[in-house]
Symmetry: C2
Subunit: 181 residues, 2 copies
Amino acid sequence: MRDGKPAPDAPPADTPETTGHDTAPPPPLLLDGFVPYRLSVLANVISRSVAAIYEERFGLTIPEWRVMAVLGLEDGGPEPVSANSVAARTAMDKVQVSRAIARMVQAGLVSRDTDSADRRRSALALTDKGLAVYRQIVPAARRYEQELLAALSPEDQAALDRLLSTLHAAAVARARAQGVE
Amino acid sequence: MRDGKPAPDAPPADTPETTGHDTAPPPPLLLDGFVPYRLSVLANVISRSVAAIYEERFGLTIPEWRVMAVLGLEDGGPEPVSANSVAARTAMDKVQVSRAIARMVQAGLVSRDTDSADRRRSALALTDKGLAVYRQIVPAARRYEQELLAALSPEDQAALDRLLSTLHAAAVARARAQGVE
DNA sequence: CTACGTTAGTTTCATTTGAAACCACTTCCA
DNA sequence: TGGAAGTGGTTTCAAATGAAACTAACGTAG
């Protein structure tokens, strides 16, 4: 149940740190009821499962899978895909992307040419081998997701969708305000 | 949006990897609609914010904060707290816990004695200094959580609570079945 | 056309992380 | 007693990560 939200502004008793000598102990905090902790644990469990699938069945890490997801999506489009645009679509920074791509090029899953229009940029694409992996991994990913979501009613699945979006927006806004880039 | 959820059981066309030579391209996957990805990104954004608070205001990392949360909770109880029991309550492994405790002992926040009943075990507790930090950090943590949850209606907060629990149970069950310990 | 500021991407280096090896102690059982 | 075998916790070593430095190419202002 957790404490039933007592109006947005917290009661004064909940913020004792204003007076350094006030020894009133704050109500202790149960980690298991703390949303950031729960989210972190949940995301970790799921990431491990997903990572295990990608790793053992396709030899890919999660960053690599993300790169693949973007390249597979863009496949056939006329616009050459740069590492930067991959980074923008994956919430990874350019170093992570660079490393993931390097491994995938090495493994023959991704082709990298210099974009002729701008020679700083690389033009990335899945190779045939990469595409073959992509065509297997996408259904595997969907299947895992479905297995997980099967624990939820359709309404709850919709609710989850909404909540994730709302929370993400709120968290990003809060982080910005806080100066965490 | 997203592909309009086509009944819990996926259509056969969605699992083509059974025939290696089937070249029918699977529908591409939008990372932004993929729950494991979204959860991971969300948890990361929040973790960064929380970590920034703990770090700049209290000089603590997240593992350290978790240790503190457990010790603060147990404070005054007659049972001496061992590193192992901390690990059990924090979803961290014993190495992480060991390192977090080492830093906190170093910083004078935690006292560590050998449990006289079992000299392998350590008896951990917050020092006065640690307790003082605890009493400030708990309200700060609560406040952050409240700011985040303020983006949700009370009903949505309740829904979130439920969904996190259900998903966690499902993910853990699935991971076990998969052999990811 | 040349010089400065910017962007794309990689590399380097220090730190963090994880797995396995490792001590110290306890427990089980002959 | 006196070993195995097991548990609590730390350490070691290798691999992953992140931040900042760096190279190369572009755009633009003189």
